[in-house]
């Protein structure tokens, strides 16, 4: 399974994503933002980091990178696209996912493990998790505060497009578990077609217990499994 890992100027989790894909048996392929073409790719990953230094707004400049036209086309044909952290921000800026990510309520960069509840397991990104499973996954961002207008939010909730939510240890959605002020404790969402996913926490950093947690594996094994059945 060939999985494109994009690198924008300022991406810094591309290496980690590359390793994660490799670890679950996929074939990661580097793609520099000025390279064109995603032919032959089975999935596309947009990494975390600080594309263009997060200047202006996180993701605002990267969304105009040449490769983003190909990402849009790839997504429109139903290809799976995952944006993590800065990748999520880019997908929102590009309009491939609804809403926006603004400054954390604390106004500080926030780096810690968070607990996430898996809201749906019938997607290509979460099929290897148990319903309601609580994951421990590192996050590290300054702009992860998810915002959308009322209407969009109602649609996300109504159509079950929220994939991950910040929760406490017992799996409850509580204010204290919310690291950045996101509406409804939203940590990750999927588009209505179910093939474009964005999340702020970093599953690729939770791939082995030596580093603290292996709970992020499921995102990558789910994706690879779906590609195997699709292909």
């Amino acid at each position: 399974m060939r999985v494109a890992v994009l690198t924008f100027p300022g991406s810094n989790c591309d290496y980690d994503l590359y390793q994660a894909v490799k670890q679950v048996g996929g074939e990661p392929v580097w793609r520099w933002h000025r390279d064109r073409g995603l032919e032959g790719m089975d999935a596309v990953l947009l990494p975390g980091g600080f594309s263009y230094g997060d200047y202006l707004r996180a993701g605002a400049i990267a969304r105009f990178s040449p490769i983003m036209e190909d990402v849009r086309a790839f997504a429109e044909q139903g290809g799976p696209v995952v944006g993590i952290c800065n990748g999520f921000q880019i997908l929102c800026e590009a309009g491939l996912l609804p809403g926006a990510l603004i400054r954390n309520e604390s106004l500080r960069f926030q780096s810690e493990d968070c607990l996430l509840r898996v809201e749906r397991t019938d997607t290509v990104f979460t099929s290897d998790y148990a319903p309601g499973q609580v994951l421990r996954i590192p996050l590290a961002h300054a702009e992860g505060n998810y915002r959308a207008d009322r209407e969009t939010l109602d649609r996300l909730e109504g159509e079950g497009l929220v994939l991950f939510r910040y929760v406490d240890e017992s799996g409850e959605v509580v204010r204290e578990a919310n690291p950045n002020g996101s509406l409804n404790n939203i940590a990750g969402i999927v588009n209505p077609a179910g093939n474009v996913m964005g999340m702020m926490p970093h599953p690729e950093r939770a791939m082995e217990t030596l580093l603290g947690s292996a709970d992020g594996l499921g995102v990558f094994t789910s994706l690879l499994a779906s590609l195997a059945t699709a292909g």
Binding site: P9, G10, N12, C13, Y15, D16, Q19, A20, W32, G48, G49, F50, Y52, G53, D54, Y55, R108, F109, Q110, S111, E112, P138, A140, A142, H202, E204, R205, M207, L210, L211, G212
Partner: protein, 770 residues
């Protein structure tokens, strides 16, 4: 005072250079304003065989500043051991490099940005991180971790809170953006640093042996290229400025323009530099750091035994009308000087373009030993290169201990015999002390997990990063207790070395080498020079006994405000290797029922302790003594226990003493535990619980393994005793000391420990608070 310089290097005499129109005339005031003494100026005249031009004077001033020239430190630094079979690159390069096995090498270095951070904490600290990252990747190594060692005044001052929060944000924003995990550091708050904070940043980088490259201008005819950001007027004469004392009423305009960091450009520069080095198109590369283009060009020529010619009109600039003087001395960030193989300039440019950066040809390597600067072809400076770097005058000074410090050390201490307060309350108060409390408020602002290598994050004894594709990991720590060094510089420096080594072995790592950052006051004052010299002596001895040579470092003098010096603070940055990631150990107790064992000996030493500062506002007494041989045995014993898989947790026992070390192991983790221990040493309870005796480590292990642990300790001649047991959180923290009993509620202890910094920092911050 004696001038002990090596004989002047032989070199060509420079030709005549007419003054450049528009440049100021050189008067006595101009010379003094450039920080050169009359004798030093005499020396300039001898080297030049004529009067320097204004541009040339600027170059001498920067290169012979304390910061670049190590005027007052070089003779003492020669005393430090620098060799071991695993040292690949010792002092003198952008960073030191050691072999860490499996074909890998580790580059590492520490650097200070104290002065810039005192003026503009955010940018000062940010650019400090930027500079140290560049020192690492110019060696061909990819940065894999950052640590930061910080000192501020007491947090009840609004100005201190402003500095502290700005510095932390600056360090975080820069490292986070570039994507280098922070794996540890330290911070101390003490009135001894009021007005003059310390901001030291350390970086580790990983490479394969064959990727090593150095900052050498080799090969006559090779091309000098300026790479990265454009040159602006920022930070002109920063190196000279960093070599002066701060004064509260310093004229704003006399200060160099603040350098602003651009971590985004740094990230591109990092990738481009590593690609350049791999490409084989370049022979040398160096950061344009302190004293900018001047120091990078002359140092590279000095190391190569060559000369260089630069035309400043070819340097890409940010502003119009910059003079040669300004271009040569600008400290604009995110710039590199590269020596490209002749004919490979376009290849170099291509790589930089891919990363959306500029590369401009600005000069070439020559064989005449001269640093020659031209402006559109007209020579404006011509100086023998070697005397600029190695010919800097150096001074070995008389040191005398200040009488009042000797008196402080000898004074009688309160509570050395009997406690004046409730001991349980005292534990809670100490856990709430910003010096002992959790530093989570800091490292929550640092990305600690990017690059997916961090096996031990900040908050433990040392940070640990595993090396992908091997069983190995590297560990690093920074340590220094300035109070100890203040009270007894030699012992204090040895305590810093000993603590660093203990911190490493507690994570399962064998200490291998150090870098150091010597933060002191004005070395021309005899009692400051005394501190400096004693500290270096102490460090040298410890380096020899621990077999941890020095591979590089940094000296920051003149850390004084209005004549008051900081505590002498020789920060030790120590690195080590964990041979098998299975040995990685942390400080946190793991399971109720585990046995708690103390390695080392409790002593009756309360001097220099946090207890005295917290309850009596005192920095006094003799700091705890250091037995280097005993420390070494302790290190070896601990490592053997860990490698034998006998140890569940290991924690260095130092600041705050035994009571605090035990509490940290219990509540310094997300799921706190309790403990119950008994200590029967015939020592009064306050020094027993809160004295900071060196050479101690608190372990926990399976009760069945206690005997094996005691046996290993015995084999190494390390005293050890079983103290008690890890308990459930609900059982509280219990210490019986003779007839005294400490009982602290676990939740209360955790609250004190975790809330200490946030509680103090959740207040309005303003830039102008006094």
């Amino acid at each position: 005072m004696s001038d002990t310089t090596v004989s002047e290097p032989r070199s060509l005499k420079p030709g005549l250079v007419p003054p450049r129109s528009g440049d100021p005339e050189i008067t006595d005031e101009v010379v003094t304003g450039h920080g050169l003494s009359a004798e030093e100026y005499e020396r300039v005249l001898r080297i030049m065989g004529r009067a320097p031009t204004f541009t040339e004077l600027g170059v001498f001033s920067a290169m012979w500043s304390e910061h670049c020239g190590y005027k007052n430190s070089r003779p003492a630094l020669r005393l430090l051991p620098t060799q071991a079979p695993w040292v690949i690159q010792g002092p003198g390069e952008n960073a030191g490099v050691i072999d860490i096995g499996d074909g890998y090498a580790l580059a590492f270095k520490i650097e200070s940005h104290n002065h810039p951070s005192a003026i503009e904490p955010y940018q000062g600290a940010a650019t400090g991180v930027g500079g140290i990252l560049r020192d690492i990747f110019t060696m061909g190594a990819r940065p894999i971790a950052v640590l930061d060692s910080l000192r501020f005044g007491d947090l009840d001052s609004p100005r201190v809170r402003y500095l502290f929060s700005g510095v932390v944000k600056g360090i975080g924003d820069y490292g986070n953006c570039v994507g280098i995990p922070n794996i540890g550091g330290e911070v101390h708050f003490d009135r001894g640093y009021e007005g003059n904070p310390i901001v030291n940043a350390m970086c580790l980088g990983l490479m394969k042996h064959e990727d090593l490259i150095t900052g050498v201008a080799e090969g006559v005819g090779n091309t000098l290229m300026a790479v990265g950001a454009r040159t602006g007027r920022d930070g002109i004469h920063g190196a000279t400025f960093a070599s002066e004392e701060l004064s509260e009423d310093a004229d704003e305009d006399s200060r160099p323009m603040v350098q602003v960091g651009d971590p985004f450009t740094e990230k591109l520069l990092l990738e481009a530099s590593l690609e350049l080095i791999k490409s084989g198109h370049i022979v040398g590369i160096q950061d344009m750091g302190a004293a900018g283009l001047t120091s990078s060009a002359t140092e590279m020529a000095g190391r190569g035994g060559t000369g260089v010619t630069i035309d400043v009109s070819r340097v890409p600039v940010r502003e119009e009308g910059m003079t040669p003087y300004e271009i040569l001395l600008s400290e604009s960030q995110e710039r590199m000087l590269v020596v490209a193989e002749q004919g490979k300039e376009d290849e170099v440019r291509k790589i930089l373009e891919k990363w959306e950066l500029e590369a401009a040809v600005i000069g070439e390597v020559t064989d005449d030993g001269l640093f020659r600067v031209q402006e559109s072809g007209v020579t404006v400076a011509e100086i023998p290169a070697l005397p600029l770097t190695t010919g800097c005058p150096t001074y070995e000074r008389e040191g005398i201990e200040a009488l009042e410090i000797a008196q402080l050390r000898d004074r009688e201490l309160p509570e050395a015999d009997a406690p004046e307060r409730d001991l349980s309350e005292a534990v809670l108060t100490l856990l709430d002390s910003p010096n002992l409390a959790s530093k989570r408020w800091i490292y929550n602002q640092y990305d600690t997990t990017v690059r997916t290598g961090t096996a031990v994050r900040p908050g433990g004894d040392a940070g640990v990063v595993r090396i992908r594709g091997t069983r190995r990991a590297v560990a690093a720590t920074t340590d220094c207790n300035g109070r100890y060094v203040y009270l007894a510089p030699k012992t204090g420096a040895q305590a810093a070395m000993a603590e660093a080594a203990r911190n490493l072995v507690c994570t399962g790592a064998l200490p291998l080498a150090i870098t150091n950052n010597l933060n002191f006051g004005n070395p021309t004052k005899p009692h400051i020079y005394y501190q400096f010299r004693q500290a270096v002596d102490g460090m040298a001895e410890a380096c020899r006994i621990f077999e941890t040579p020095v591979t590089g470092g940094n000296v920051s003098f003149y850390n004084e405000t209005d004549g008051r010096a900081i505590y002498p603070t020789p920060v030790i940055g120590m690195v080590g290797v964990v041979e098998d990631v299975d040995h990685v150990t942390t400080h946190a107790f793991r399971r109720p029922g585990d046995a708690i064992v103390l390695l080392g000996v409790n002593t009756n030493e309360l001097g220099g302790s946090e207890y005295l500062y917290a309850f009596h506002g005192l920095v006094a007494g003799a700091p705890p003594s250091v037995d280097l041989m005993a420390e070494r045995s302790l290190q070896q014993a601990t490592l053997e226990m860990i490698r034998s898989a006998l140890v569940c947790s290991a924690h260095d026992c130092s600041e705050g003493g035994l009571a605090v070390a035990l509490s940290e192991s219990a509540v310094g983790q997300e799921k706190p535990l309790g403990f119950e221990v008994r200590v029967d040493d015939p020592i009064a309870p306050v020094p027993l619980l809160f004295g900071e005796a060196q050479g101690r480590i608190v372990l926990s292990c399976d009760p069945d393994d206690v005997e094996a642990i005691l046996e290993i300790a015995d084999k190494h001649g390390v005293p050890a005793q079983s103290l008690g047991t890890v308990r459930e959180a609900g059982d509280g923290l219990v210490i019986e000391a003779g007839a005294h009993r400490v009982h602290v509620d676990t939740h209360a202890a955790r609250q004190a420990f975790t809330r200490a910094l946030p509680r103090r920092m959740d207040q309005t911050l303003t830039a102008d608070s006094e």
